[in-house]
Symmetry: C2
Subunit: 367 residues, 2 copies
Amino acid sequence: MIMIRENFVQENMEKFSSQSKNCSSFFQLISNKGIRQGQFNIRGKVAKTPLFMPVATRGTVRGVSPSQLKEIGFEMILANTYHLHERPGEEVISKLGGLHRFMNWDGLILTDSGGYQVFSLSNYRKVTDEGVVFRSVLDGKEIFLTPEKVLEIQKKLNSDIAIFLDECPEYPCSAKREEESLIRTLKFAQSSIKVEKNPGQLFFGVVQGGMNFKLRQECVHALLSLGVDGLAIGGLSVGEEPSLTKEVLLATLEVIPPDKPRYLMGVGSDILEYIKMGVDMFDSVFPTRIARHGSAILYNKGRINISNKRFKEDESPLDEDCDCYTCRNFSRAYLRHLFVCGELLGKTLLSIHNLTVLYKTVRALNS
Amino acid sequence: MIMIRENFVQENMEKFSSQSKNCSSFFQLISNKGIRQGQFNIRGKVAKTPLFMPVATRGTVRGVSPSQLKEIGFEMILANTYHLHERPGEEVISKLGGLHRFMNWDGLILTDSGGYQVFSLSNYRKVTDEGVVFRSVLDGKEIFLTPEKVLEIQKKLNSDIAIFLDECPEYPCSAKREEESLIRTLKFAQSSIKVEKNPGQLFFGVVQGGMNFKLRQECVHALLSLGVDGLAIGGLSVGEEPSLTKEVLLATLEVIPPDKPRYLMGVGSDILEYIKMGVDMFDSVFPTRIARHGSAILYNKGRINISNKRFKEDESPLDEDCDCYTCRNFSRAYLRHLFVCGELLGKTLLSIHNLTVLYKTVRALNS
């Protein structure tokens, strides 16, 4: 089996190499000692790394306005290609001047490929080397996504960083399945790299290979030889033990050259540890999702659920160590009241706080 | 029947007169020609009239932050005594420094008496001259509200303007019922006026009397002789023809001295007409409630429902004549998208717009 893999990568390495490009001007590594610190400069916009991206699933970070995101300090957010393709459709967004203008966000935007939604949301799907057929979660309509198509969508959205289509294997799965999905991911990448980028846009390839270190490393090499601008690490935190996540991640990062940005997809916990290991970028719906259920993240003090009765007369701010809009202006007692009454403002205020904690915690490492 | 009424008012007039006070320093009538223009100055805070108050039912204008209300320009808001009594309770709010501090609103606050909620929300109720017994809409628990009790609650909330308990008759109802509820409202007012105000707080009496002009006018006289600081006009827009509303309102306003502020309770439509008739203050959940359902009020152009398909690619702002945060920053297409996807931000953005239209429309008359 290893033979087959090695042959595959060997055969393809040459093709890949011929397409290799130098794309490092958009990312500057500032320090590689201790915590990796870097800086994106894309289309004249700057974003320091390490960075955390709030998730604007449908072109909005749920319950938080773009001005509020800006006030927190975010420089880059993530939006979901699949959801925006379904509604309102990339054609509409393109006609309206692209996603930045559509949602009134003048910072940077990374869009995912939609691949994760295909594998996580749809019961019916068929994957071939050409692409993925699956049913819309909205209306059951059949959708055919190819590597080229997902990039065309992201070009119409005109995001700053676009991600290749990949195949994420289930966890746990067989060694054969890990390899198959890697091969498919690389075939998708080969088709993807041929798509012409929008001016200034970056293309990130996705590292798959299950929990197999060797496959992961081969995937990195193959993607690099294709000339991707950065590496999105997928297929982790999918149910495996955290210790295994770390081992696989370490093995993957080991073979990525220092000047390449590394984005760990969809992982919202243990971020500090992953940053120390050398990850530059994160996204997660976690801080906003738990906020909408009343759960607040405190600086270095774990979490509290603000609906708890013990906060009924608590006049202290949500987090004494925080200076976000919510903590500057409201008491725990008021926030609890909003949640007990199901008031919308509660969701917004806790989302602002949780995002601020994520932002500041990560930002403290790059300033 | 008229005899009985006249006797009642006659008898009581003397009692009322002895309690009369001069309370006009807090309200200055600036112009009485054409549109009435005035200015509140309560506890060092100013609010120009005519004014529209957004409704912060449970200590929050649904989906809108206090900073957003401030940015629109509001100087006074309304909060519901009954709802705040239920949750979190006036004791909690009092411990936390009063309603202003609790909800972080540094403008003026008017609280209603809770009387309207008693009559509109509760199926079971028993009204006597002492007060009202009814079942909590939250847990069915029996609640006994007296004229003194509703003022004690409002004193604990420490609102700037507190309203007396009243009895609002059903519509339509018999002449006898109109008179009975008027008599009870005045008895409540007699008990209410004896309650000592918080420093700087104002007490408004409620004008009832059904659709009977004479009863309405007698009610005004009686309340004035009690020495109320202003008049809240209740029991209108309860199902009667708009032409009747106007006739009753005119008859009521006719007998109110020019220096007394007049607040038309819970009426959110035809505001401009009522202002021209001499009303100073309004409140209504209407603009925020319809906003949460996607309905936007346009300046002088009626309403649109933003979820409508025709806005799918409409890149113009919600209202070209508006400069609110929403209209400055987002297209109709984006707002439609937010509503189609059920995104919270849509509710907030439309609420901001609708409140701005109400604010500016009324404000245009007093600047």
